[in-house]
Symmetry: C2
Subunit: 416 residues, 2 copies
């Protein structure tokens, strides 16, 4: 495409996000035939069994009662001091790594990914991501003058493909001397995979080996934990955070924390980027770069959202009520996912290895044709490059139970 | 400074924003001796005469009563359809240019400036800004791999320095073939200057002349109108919007709209970038690039803030109440500024040409030393490179009346 007034690298195709487009079709169909007759498994937001967005009462009862100046006033560039303190617990809970921790507020996890890419990957360099990935990683990289390189996420036995990862990692490290690797775990979008502690141990060992090979290498891991509060039971989903410490000084672990899902604050744009740095100097460098990035991008974040999260975390009663409400919905989500997995087994439907989270992926060919076939059955699902994305976060357990058979039939009809 | 883990271009000095730092000192002093004994003229937010942040009742009575799903749910990448329609009125009111208008939501005016710089200035190119300017323009340019070049804002007779502007503009156009020029008017930060209609006419004539010289030239003007709703009386502050139309197709006018000041939504992060484009194709290109930029930077904006602005603008009663409240505070601000200007004349204090807005600038040498001298008198003010910035938005009319004499005395004491 030729540019008219924008610069060449800013020419973009118009058109809606395909997810929002299919979701719009689903909403239209619901208006026509009623929501009990439509499966809308497109959107990545937690819905109750009636298809209404869940907004935690334990969050909004705090938000609703803030002083008006909390909504109106600026939060300060890096975030309010209260938020920067309390988001550390929100991120790590009782698995806070023995490292130099800093936080800088960002608008959701997206902003954290943006800052990691801007500050830790060189211009025109490749950022390492899995082949199954959240599509905006590539958008964020492109928008900020970087590229992405994909490694195969899964091995043949359904685990994390350590060999494929290390191969791609080593190539990039050799070429670039610096690798920013983004791993979305636990509860990976779009597959629901969570790396095991053993897989994290293997990754750590590889980082240590490579880091020691050449002190000029720079290894940066961004853990995208957007869905962590819907993974595991109790604190188990955070065990890996303590594994990822004690590495050489040329390895840095960052966390993209999002309040979107865990606090049902999607539209309030609240999150943070955190570092668990090996030295104070590296943590200071992180904080200065990311605060500058805030000033040079969106200035500051949503004040009232920061205050709400801070008040919830800092108050034992509020936090207990919040964690109980979160657990209630985590249980609902896990029950829905189990219903889908059980029915998939019965229907002999192949799915990507799922552990936890908002999404389950079904590998298949001709994904758009399969999606369109399902739409004729009033079943709305997202077509990815390598498969379909089903969102148990958005549909009832009863619908999760009937979905696999419908998907299986559609795949067979389209692909023979 | 040497980089440790970040890339070279991301190494930043730590340290608080100097404005927030001096403001923090002022707050501490207020706690010690009472607010009636301290002048805190540092922060760019509208305060009542008691030093409390103004949060418009006409805005927050709407915001407070939204359904919880409006706070919780995503707004969509480019902004909600309602917002994108109603922000056009919020920006242009009854001076909507005869052009192809589009809007994309951004977090405040900062986000709009960011998108303009990313999409309309080439990497490593210079963006044209005045010597007296809002410091973050440079931060935003640097963060996004661009630089800034300054032209002299004022001529000797106290008007806009057309000659200086055209000289700098022509040089950049010659070198880069493309110029993005940011003009913050009316009610310029930090001086309060507003370009006259005649000055805008002269700029338009110059753009037309240069654009016709070479069809490959690209001229982009970003009008930063962050303070427009506190400028002029009635609609006069928007007259220039209709002047800036009817130019060749290689001239594009953009607007950075902010809801921070005009709607007292500072901490809600709401704003938009708008184009008044000569052709539909250029408007389409703008919308696609800026929506992609949203996706690749902060994803989407604060939903409830968009809904609040939309509801106010779309409802005649709500809008009338809002505009009346805005006018009441505009009158208060203008009375404070007049008190300062009158007292400055009496004290023979030189100030930059002021017309409207949150700030008045006092040109002087050794600005930090003068600021520190004033701090000893419990008077807190911002030291810029070429002068001091006084914020009538933040102090009472009575304090505006005594401030100029104190400033004059401090300058004489420091500079002799």
């Amino acid at each position: 495409m030729q540019n008219k007034m924008v610069i060449k690298s800013a020419v973009r195709e118009a058109g809606n996000d395909p997810i929002f487009k299919v979701s719009g079709m689903a909403k239209k169909r619901i208006a026509e035939i009623g929501k009990e007759n439509v499966i809308n498994a497109t959107l990545g937001a937690l819905m109750d069994d009636d298809g209404n967005l869940v907004a935690f009462d334990s969050v909004y009862s705090v938000f609703d009662n803030l002083d008006r100046t909390e909504y109106a006033s600026y939060a300060g560039i890096a975030g309010t001091p209260d938020f920067l303190e309390n988001v550390v617990y929100a991120c790590f809970k009782h698995q806070k790594p023995d490292a130099h921790i800093r936080a800088v507020a960002t608008p959701g996890g997206t902003g954290a990914v943006r800052h990691a890419i801007r500050n830790y990957a060189d211009t025109d360099d490749y950022v390492l991501i899995p082949d199954w990935h959240w599509a905006p990683y590539e958008t964020i990289a492109n928008e900020n003058g970087r590229k992405v390189k994909a490694f195969p996420l899964f091995s043949d036995d359904g685990g994390f493909n350590l060999e494929g990862y290390f191969g791609a990692f080593d190539n990039l490290l050799d070429e670039q001397k610096r690798v920013l690797s983004i791993i979305n775990s636990p509860a990976h979008n779009p597959t629901g995979y969570s790396l095991s502690d053993g897989e994290w141990e293997a990754i750590k060992a590889h980082y240590i080996e490579k880091a020691n090979e050449n002190p000029d290498y720079r290894i940066i891991l961004l853990c995208d934990i957007a869905y962590i509060d819907f993974a595991g039971h109790g604190e188990s989903a955070r065990d890996f955070m303590n594994i990822l410490t004690g590495m050489p000084e040329n390895v840095l672990v960052l966390y993209a924390f999002s309040a979107s899902k865990g606090y049902t604050m999607y539209g309030l744009r609240n999150g943070a980027i955190l570092c668990a740095a090996p030295t104070e100097a590296i943590a200071d460098e992180f904080a200065a770069s990311c605060a500058y990035s805030n000033r040079g991008t969106w200035s500051n974040g949503t004040h009232a959202a920061m205050t709400t999260l801070s008040q919830i975390i800092a108050d034992d009663t509020l936090r207990a009520a919040f964690e109980a409400e979160q657990e209630k919905y985590r249980d609902i989500l896990q029950a829905r996912a189990k219903a889908f997995l059980d029915a998939a087994k019965t229907a002999d439907l192949e799915i990507c290895p799922y552990v936890d989270g908002f999404f389950i992926s079904i590998p298949c060919e001709n994904t758009e044709a399969v999606r369109d076939e399902l739409i004729t059955k009033d079943f709305f699902i997202v077509a990815l490059k390598h498969g379909l994305r089903f969102a148990p976060c958005a549909v009832s357990e009863a619908q999760c139970r009937i979905a696999p058979e419908m998907i299986k039939a559609a795949i067979e009809k389209v692909n023979g």
